[in-house]
């Protein structure tokens, strides 16, 4: 079995609604975080979000969907997957064979309809139009039906590393002969549920998040979706592809339900395992897209784990300073960003950084730079200690 390569990508985030517009914004170092315009919550006006400024009705007319139970999460996912499929040039025949897998990931699913869910869970007699749309699987099933995909279909939830595991599972399905191609990715939309959840934990920043800064004070929530088409290298002769999925590793920190251990055992194992899988020395990694949420706990622990692995920590930055923490979508969205860096030979800055964390003294990339890259790493860590690292390689 040869390599698994990425032949198509689609993304929608607070930086834009296409791979092209996201790339432009990354190069310019634009920040997509702003006051909430569309999300309905008590906190809309006094917190900052990585919000996609497109209303549901506009998505619905764009996709000509009459399904009243379709949620924002499904619409964001549809937007990204359409772009990815188009980019890879997969036709309807390829999509509808038993060899095409679809692996989605989400943590919010249809719970963006928080009030409707509250009512339906209590209703005695009738339910709302969203009855079958609350779970995360509803998003994947909506996409499956829309494109008539017939292979292995799955939905994964490992909290904030969910879509990293969707990418890993898709690559594994191909490598072990359970699929010829896999469409993999993740999505989450802003929801009253998660805003209140992260707020109750006291880890939402009152201002712009400041990943890896000494005075960082929490994260900004975001929304978005990204999908990638994975194919076998031997099947794509003559077709363009961006890179290969060279390494992946999922490990558990096994320390605490909602924070990482001091030494970052989970992050360390995930990064180390991904390097082993890719058969690479740490020194060959040219850029790390860090998990970098901007919380007190994550950034220090992730820094320590990077220092444990890398003799010289390679250039790194957090995409979350530009799009917020897109939860179940974050690993997929940031995988697209990592692949863009690799493909264009660029590293993108982390924003809002002023001073180093004293115990680690690491400085993220602060300006867009051209840099020859052969291998990039992307980290995703989630509640429940769920850590996954991915490595994408140019050749």
């Amino acid at each position: 079995m040869g390599r698994v390569v990425v032949t198509g990508m689609g993304v929608i985030s607070a930086l834009g609604d296409s791979v092209l517009s996201n790339h432009d914004a990354l190069v310019k170092g634009t920040c997509g975080i702003s006051k909430g315009d569309l999300v309905r919550s008590k906190y809309t006006d006094n917190l900052l979000f990585g919000e996609v400024k497109i209303e549901n009705e506009r998505f619905k007319s764009l996709f000509n969907t009459k399904n009243p139970g379709v949620t924002r999460t499904s619409l964001l996912a549809l937007h990204a997957i359409e772009e990815a499929i188009k980019d890879s040039g997969l036709d309807n025949t390829q999509l509808s064979t038993y060899d095409t897998a679809l692996i989605g990931a989400s943590t919010v699913g249809g719970m963006c309809q928080t009030d409707e869910l509250y009512n339906d869970a209590k209703s005695e007699t009738t339910g709302s139009v969203y009855m079958a749309s609350y779970d995360c699987a509803s998003v994947t099933l909506f996409l499956r039906e829309r494109f008539g995909i017939k292979g292995v279909i799955n939905t994964i939830n490992t909290a904030c590393s969910s879509s990293a595991n969707a990418i890993m599972y898709g690559a594994q399905l191909i490598q072990n002969g359970f699929a010829k191609r896999a469409i993999v990715g993740g999505v989450d939309s802003l929801a009253k549920f998660t805003i209140n959840g992260f707020n109750s934990l006291g880890i939402l920043s009152p201002g712009y998040c400041k990943p890896f800064d000494k005075d960082r004070n929490g994260l900004n929530l975001g929304e978005g979706a990204a999908f990638m088409v994975l194919e076998r290298e031997e099947d794509v002769k003559g077709k363009k592809y961006y890179c290969s999925v060279a390494g992946y590793c999922n490990a558990n920190d096994a320390f605490h339900p909602s924070s990482l251990s001091e030494n970052g055992e989970g992050p360390y194992q995930a990064m180390k395992g991904a390097l082993q899988k890719a058969n690479l020395l740490p020194s060959s990694i040219g850029f790390i897209n860090t998990h970098g949420t901007g919380t007190e706990n994550n950034d220090e622990v992730e820094s320590k784990a990077m220092i444990r692995i890398f003799e010289n920590v390679p250039p790194f930055a957090s995409s979350k300073s530009k799009i917020g923490h897109t939860l179940g979508a974050s690993a997929a969205v940031e995988a697209v960003f990592s692949i863009l860096a690799l493909h264009h030979g660029e590293v993108y800055p982390g924003l809002n950084f002023s001073n180093c964390i004293e115990s680690t003294m690491l400085i993220p990339v602060r300006n867009t730079e051209n840099k020859k890259l052969d291998h990039v790493m992307s980290n995703s860590f989630g509640f429940g200690g769920n850590c996954t690292s991915l490595i994408f390689s140019k050749d």
């Binding site: 339906d120 995360c136 994964i156 939830n157 509640f383």
Partner: protein, 344 residues
């Protein structure tokens, strides 16, 4: 892939002193689990666990007591920590997004079961949760097969868990998935109305590539999404051709007249002498019932004792060695599982 150990918490006497002959009867068409004492979980931690997490950790712990430590935890659960999810949801609405306590939020994430097993047993290996509704456990099994191909000497804990929570029970009820008339047991299969009975449970397995010490091999698994019974039976025919003869068919039929056609079309392509078995009167209906069916199949093969209430016909005339499981989630998601007795 070989199954080495298994454990099950269900509405029946499947945990500790197993008694398969007596059937607990559903109450208001709900089969709730018989919860054990959870001796291995410290009280202060147990108190904070939601029900799904308790069921998952409770069924997993007896398999994780020896010196052998699996290389990872792979869980399938459609509804994860939904009970906590709804508790947190209630807080949000009732306190108008005021100052809320985070415990329910942290426990509400579907990955809480696998995470808690990892945390309780200090397992820093592979850890994942599949939540794809009626195929959550099947994807967990496929994931285990894949991990064992990539890690030949490894072993994994793989399991399926789902609970009856106020959230999913009410949604399913409103959507017409439970019967209105009272069901008392195997009369479930004589029903000509829509819906089934609700159930919950947790089944855990230690799997590996090692043949020694195992009674059961998982020979193959196939998943399918379609609403066409003919496509299901056509795919089943292919699956059987690939995996060989089976002498028993364990069917997930659940008395719902709307999806009986899927089970019928599969039964119709089987040799008449294959023993047909059913189990939903024992477990109730929920998205991870295949995990419980797999536990039952392991038990049947290991003990060669199959109580009458599971048998649809014909009567068993010889030891069962190869079992085929077919289940559908709401007539949209389907899975086949081929299992074989391991001769030593």
């Amino acid at each position: 892939m070989f199954i080495h150990r298994s454990s099950c918490i269900s509405p029946q006497h499947t945990f500790g002193n197993v008694d398969m002959d007596t059937c607990v009867i559903p109450e208001n068409n709900i089969l709730k689990v018989i919860e054990p004492k959870y001796a291995g979980i410290p009280l202060n931690i147990l108190r904070r666990m939601g029900k799904a997490v308790r069921l998952g950790v409770g069924a997993a712990l007896p398999l994780l007591t020896g010196s052998e430590k699996p290389d990872g935890v792979i869980i399938g659960s459609a509804n994860g920590g939904m009970e906590d999810c709804v508790k947190f949801l209630n807080q949000i609405i009732e306190y108008e997004e005021g100052r809320l306590t985070p415990t329910n939020f942290v426990q509400s994430t579907p990955n809480a079961i696998a995470a808690q097993i990892g945390l309780t047993t200090s397992n820093t290996g592979f850890n994942i949760t599949h939540i794809h509704r009626g195929l959550a456990f099947e994807n967990a099994l496929l994931n285990a097969i894949i991990m064992l191909r990539e890690n030949k000497n490894a072993s994994y804990l793989v399991g399926g868990v789902d609970e009856v929570s106020s959230y999913n029970y009410n949604l399913e009820r409103l959507d017409g998935w439970y019967k209105k008339e009272k069901v008392t047991g195997t009369d479930l299969y004589d029903s000509s109305t829509e819906g089934s009975i609700a159930g919950e449970g947790s089944a855990m397995f230690i799997v590996g590539n090692r043949r020694e010490g195992s009674f059961m091999e998982v020979r193959g698994i196939r998943m399918l999404h379609t609403d066409d019974p003919f496509e299901v039976s056509t795919q089943l025919r292919e699956f059987i051709a690939e995996h060989g003869y089976h002498d028993a068919f364990l069917s997930g039929e659940n008395g719902d007249v709307r999806i009986q056609s899927f089970y019928n079309s599969c039964e119709n392509i089987l040799d008449p002498e294959i023993v047909k078995l059913h189990f939903k009167h024992f477990t109730g209906e929920h998205p991870s019932t295949t995990a419980l069916a797999l536990w039952l199949a392991v038990r049947f093969i290991e003990t060669q004792q199959i109580p009458e209430h599971f048998i649809k016909g014909p009567a068993i005339s010889k030891p069962l060695k190869n079992i085929l499981i077919y289940n559908t989630g709401k007539g949209e998601q389907h899975s086949f599982l081929s299992l074989s007795f391991v001769d030593h």
